[in-house]
């Protein structure tokens, strides 16, 4: 006579169970069938279920050595059917085990080679979920080509090996497990980061205005201006004696325009590496460039976008290693892309 056993059947049969395009975990029902044993009808059976779902990055390009798990599921049922109650969006190797005691025998069974797989969003789904900001959407195109996953079993990890992942290639702060397996969470995280960088960019002009470097530039500009005005006055009236003191020009450094704010935000998203997208414009001698008001009491300094060449020069001058610079052409790359 054959040995008593419990056999698992899974519905659907698998072995691949895709997470839906809308980031819903697959609905999987497992059934345990007793074989070669007849349970005592007076003793209710208890099926102890254990489900593990884990991903270790093996076989995935540029994956870091990071184990991502769905919380283990342990549940006891009195019936032989069990629908897996996933509570997190995760992919990877799926194992379902059951243990059931029949009379004096404990029977166990486990599934093999099952895998929860991923589904990339369509552009339509992405458009429905991403914040309605075309710059941010173009950024997603540059970061990932609108892909969360490289294949149905692998998230899209950044080629630099730093664990950046998904649609927004979230890198720093390190992406959460949810942001790795749920494209919606990745986009949400990307947008939060974008807004955070926007706040930093918005605060930047004030920090420059309050800084010693700008104050020093203003002082020097006024020194230079004074020299010129004194000479002009002396030439006009050679016998006028000591000229009256020339008051300093009040020089304003404006806040960013909307376009400038957007570009500096993009730069921040990629990493400033010590240099914002804009800097205060100076001439070749390092003197502030100012547009003077006709009243001659105030003037306006201006922002200058840092070109790719100047950015590389700054990094070379400040010993910023190549792998810490980000993309010197990032802002232009994003702006040249199509929105969606």
């Amino acid at each position: 006579m054959a040995n008593p056993a419990v056999v698992l059947t899974v519905d659907p049969v698998g072995p691949k169970y895709p997470i839906s395009e809308q980031c819903e975990m697959p609905k999987i029902t497992v059934t345990a069938q007793l074989q070669n044993v007849t349970p005592d009808p007076k003793v209710p059976l208890q099926y102890q279920w254990k489900v593990t779902l884990s991903f270790n990055g093996q076989g995935c390009a540029h994956a870091t050595q990071r184990m991502i798990k769905h919380d283990d599921i342990s549940q006891v049922t009195s019936t032989n059917k069990f629908q897996l109650p996933f509570t997190q969006v995760r992919g990877g190797a799926l194992t379902i085990s059951v243990t059931v005691a029949v009379a004096a025998t404990t029977l166990t069974a486990s599934t093999k080679d099952l895998v929860v797989t991923a589904t990339n969003p369509s552009v339509g789904s992405l458009a429905g979920a991403a914040a309605p900001n075309q710059t941010f959407r173009k950024l997603i195109r540059v970061e990932s080509g609108l892909r969360q996953f490289l294949s149905d079993t692998c998230p899209l990890f950044s080629g630099d090996g730093y664990g950046g992942v998904g649609l927004c290639q979230l890198t720093s702060p390190a992406p959460t497990d949810d942001q790795i397996w749920s494209w919606k969470e990745n986009v949400k995280g990307g947008w939060a980061l974008y807004k955070q960088k926007e706040a930093v960019a918005r605060a930047f002009p004030k920090s420059v205005r309050d800084g010693a470097d700008f104050k020093a530039l203003v002082k020097t500009y006024n020194e230079k201006r004074q020299a010129k005005l004194k000479a002009t006055a002396a030439a006009a009236k050679p016998d006028a004696g000591t000229a009256a003191p020339i008051p300093d020009l009040a020089i304003e450094l404006p806040d960013y325009t909307d376009d400038q704010l957007e570009r500096d935000t993009l730069r921040g998203f990629n990493g400033y590496a010590g240099l914002h997208e804009y800097r205060v414009k100076v001439d070749k001698d390092g003197v502030l460039v100012v547009t003077e008001d006709p009243s001659a009491t105030k003037g306006k300094a201006e922002w200058e976008q840092v070109t790719k060449e100047e950015r590389i020069k700054f990094y070379d001058q400040n010993n910023v290693p190549t792998n810490k610079r980000g993309d010197p052409n990032y802002v232009e790359d994003v702006e040249s892309k199509a929105g969606f």
């Binding site: 706040a199 004030k206 800084g211 020093a216 010129k228 400040n318 910023v320 810490k324």
Partner: protein, 322 residues
């Protein structure tokens, strides 16, 4: 038997005392003042250069010098702001101070908290950590005042950018000017005149209250003029002006006392490199990232630091004897 055990505490104390002496005799080896240039990059990496041998001799990652505590953010990929700002060297205790952010990511309002770390030289051992200020929109300014480190909020610090020349002979006139660099008692100035296209350079001696204009200055721009340690000379990089100014490779050394040209050198290598500093051992140090190049000026200078009111465009650095 180990020497310390044989000679006991006295030997140990003697060795410890000798090692603590900055820039002096260490167990018979005389240190050359200002021989070594320490360059602190934006990513908190320190390159140690031997200016006499003309090569890089060591590299340290300050983030890995803080023991078990992670005091400098470890950043994967591009970082936000520099991970180390300023390097103030205290020759008396042979230590340097630098400001580091607590985290790479700024707070919601764009500010950061900072700490000031003290490292020994040359071992780069963390000696002390203290608060550098909270919720700052730029790193704090560090300054040695009366042999003590002062940590100033960026908004509370303003460099001196010009000199009142009304007491300086021969003109004793309040000529508008800009301090470009200074060292010792001498200050390298740009004098502003009626012709705002003309670059007029001068050296003011604070001690003697004398102002000397440089004569026969080659074509250049203000950022390419440098005072040497001690302020006795001025090094000028010749610039080919045009739409995009370019270095020609010609260097001219001027006497800071007479204002006259003293020496000319030509080194095509420097055309594509960035000026970093002149060492007390007489080398003009150039670089691009951590590729360094040394031009021997065949002179020696006092080991006095050079300060710049606006230090943008330069990594932090200092010279030390060891």
């Amino acid at each position: 038997m180990k020497p310390a055990a044989r000679y006991g505490l006295a030997y140990t104390l003697l060795v410890a005392f000798a090692l603590s002496l900055p820039g002096r005799c260490v167990l018979g080896q005389a240190a050359t003042p200002g021989r070594f240039l320490y360059v602190i990059g934006c990513d908190a990496r320190v390159d140690k250069l031997d200016t006499i041998a003309g090569r890089q001799v060591e590299t340290y990652d300050l983030a890995k010098q803080t023991g078990k505590e992670s005091l400098i953010p470890i950043v994967h990929g591009a970082f936000d702001s520099c991970l180390a700002s300023q390097a103030v060297y205290d020759i008396k205790v042979s230590m340097f101070f630098t400001a580091v952010p607590l985290s790479n990511e700024p707070k919601a309002d764009g500010t950061k908290d900072y700490r000031v770390l003290t490292f020994s030289v040359p071992r780069m051992k963390l000696m002390k950590q203290e608060s550098g200020g909270e919720s700052l929109d730029a790193p704090p300014h560090l300054e040695l005042q009366s042999e003590r480190l002062k940590i100033l909020k960026p908004s509370a610090w303003m460099p001196q950018t010009d000199l009142d020349l009304s007491a300086y002979s021969p003109d004793k006139a309040q000529t508008p000017n800009q301090i470009l660099e200074s060292s010792g008692d001498r200050v390298l100035l740009r004098l502003f005149t009626a012709d705002d296209k003309q670059l007029v350079l001068a050296v003011a001696d604070r001690k003697t209250q004398k102002l000397v204009r440089l004569q026969g200055v080659p074509t250049t721009v203000a950022p390419n003029v440098h005072i040497v340690p001690g302020g006795g000379h001025v090094l000028i990089e010749e610039i080919r002006t045009g739409e995009k100014p370019e270095k020609t490779g010609m260097l001219a050394l001027f006497d800071g006392v007479t204002g006259k040209p003293q020496k000319k050198l030509n080194d095509p290598h420097i055309r594509d490199l960035y000026f970093l500093a002149v060492s007390p051992t007489g080398r003009a140090v150039y670089h691009s990232s951590n590729d360094y190049w040394f031009v021997d000026l065949k002179m020696k200078f006092p080991p006095a630091p050079v300060s710049r009111p606006v230090s943008k465009g330069y990594p932090a650095f200092f010279f030390a004897g060891r």
